[in-house]
């Protein structure tokens, strides 16, 4: 069936089986391999995408559910040739070791900062509690989100 949606800002349509998992469709047909499959059952958050700005798990969505939605993956977070402040902060704070969890962490953090631009550390922990990291540990990840929040606030002030 034909499914129409917006993918990283671009109108897209694809003819595919309605029961393809969204994670498979985006990785295999669109080559968006920033999305990872850690568990395939909702437990780990590595398959996180933003659906109309909300963090959801692409391993538990079927292709038809994309119809009419606006989808953001890690590949679409930054503009051309530059990093998003969250990506910069993750690198600067040492919040990335193997990197398998990072796309999901960053997208979950993005959803949080849209709703709450100045979260406390506790609120950051809570917002990222559906995303597991097996190597970095959470301290530096929380540091990075805090740093990104500050950077984004500054950007906003500059822009007036």
């Amino acid at each position: 069936m034909i499914i129409r949606f917006v993918l990283n800002g671009e109108e897209t349509q694809i003819d595919c089986a309605p029961d393809r998992r969204v994670i498979d469709l985006l990785r295999e047909d669109f080559g968006l391999t920033g999305i990872k499959e850690g568990c395939g059952s909702g437990e780990c958050g590595t398959c996180t995408i933003l659906v109309d700005g909300e963090n959801r798990l692409s391993c538990l969505m079927l292709a038809v559910q994309l119809e009419g939605k606006s989808i953001t993956t890690i590949e679409g977070l930054a503009g051309e040739n530059r990093q998003h402040p969250l990506q910069e902060a993750f690198i600067r704070c040492g919040a990335v070791q193997c990197g398998y969890c990072s796309p999901g962490m960053i997208l979950a953090a993005r959803a949080l900062l849209t709703e709450n631009p100045e979260p406390t550390r506790e609120q950051i922990r809570e917002a990222l509690s559906g995303n597991l990291c097996r190597c970095t540990g959470y301290q530096k990840i929380v540091d990075a989100v805090e740093a990104a929040a500050r950077a984004m606030q500054k950007q906003k002030e500059k822009a007036g």
């Binding site: 963090n55 798990l57 509690s129 559906g130």
Partner: protein, 277 residues
């Protein structure tokens, strides 16, 4: 391949169900899609309910709330009146799964999955929630307390869909309490949970107590004996301990990978001691 249909409104849903009486419905998919993957289900017809406007949203009237079955936990938690009027439910929702699970999962899905560990069930039980079950030709109202007949089994008949949940405001129940014991804070299935509503007189005498436990029996466990032991008393550790002893007798927990039956019974009953703290 499985077929998947995405109805946009109730009339469309009814016509899909008429043509495909064997179809399985799903809302957030956080239970069904996990199960289907484990079983490699094929050649099914699935109907996703997430786009049906009539099934999502929260409406308040004088007596309480009407909640669309496909309302997500996130939507419920963001609703200030739900948090204010029925904190016993809001507290349970805030412990359920994880943020992305709460963005996807729905209250109707939690009820229809009928898991012994379903976190909304003890609160909905003490709140005396009613369920509206609908088909193309009409609807019936079933109390939540009778809806679940066994783990994973409900009174839903073929072609019937849970459309609304009716919750009356628990007038006068000043104490609204929910506790969940799990192996960690997020992404943890309950080892035991308890929801309690307690109404006290101005002098502090308990006029009525409604208590329900999760994960300590095939479905929600209640203990009329424990409730009776609390009624007419003032809240004190000794009174709660006596009621906890009686509550333990009503439970029929099992051993599983998360905890032993002995531990479950003990911790569940002792959750009573936290009421009023």
């Amino acid at each position: 391949m499985n077929r998947v249909l995405l109805p946009k409104n109730l009339p469309e849903l009814w016509s899909f169900l008429e043509n495909e009486p064997e179809a399985r419905v799903y809302a957030g998919g956080t239970d069904l899609l996990v199960q289907m993957r484990a079983r490699c289900a094929d050649n099914l017809v699935l109907i996703c309910l997430e786009r049906i406007a009539e099934l999502t949203g929260i409406r308040e009237d004088e007596d309480g709330f009407w909640i669309g079955a496909c309302t997500t936990f996130r939507h419920l938690l963001n609703h200030p009146r739900i948090r204010e009027q029925i904190p016993v439910l809001a507290k349970a929702l805030s412990t359920l799964g994880s943020p992305p699970i709460r963005n996807m999962a729905t209250i109707g899905g939690n009820i229809c999955t009928a898991s012994p560990a379903g976190d909304t069930l003890p609160p909905l039980y003490v709140l005396d929630a009613d369920l509206i079950l609908s088909t193309q030709s009409g609807e019936r109202v079933v109390p939540l307390s009778g809806f679940i007949t066994a783990p994973g089994k409900t009174q839903l008949e073929r072609g019937e869909v849970l459309t609304q949940i009716r919750i009356k405001k628990p007038e006068g129940y000043r104490v609204q309490h929910f506790e969940k014991v799990g192996q960690r804070k997020a992404l943890a299935c309950a080892i035991a949970s308890m929801a309690a509503l307690v109404k006290t007189s101005p002098a502090g005498v308990i006029e009525s107590a409604r208590i329900a436990w999760g994960s300590v029996g095939p479905t929600v466990v209640v203990s009329p004996d424990a409730e009776a032991a609390l009624t007419g008393k003032t809240l004190s550790p000794a009174v709660l301990e006596a009621a906890a002893d009686l509550a333990g007798k009503a439970m029929a927990p099992i051993d599983d990978i998360r905890a032993t039956a002995v531990y479950r019974r003990r911790v569940a009953a002792n959750l009573l001691l936290r009421i009023g703290t």
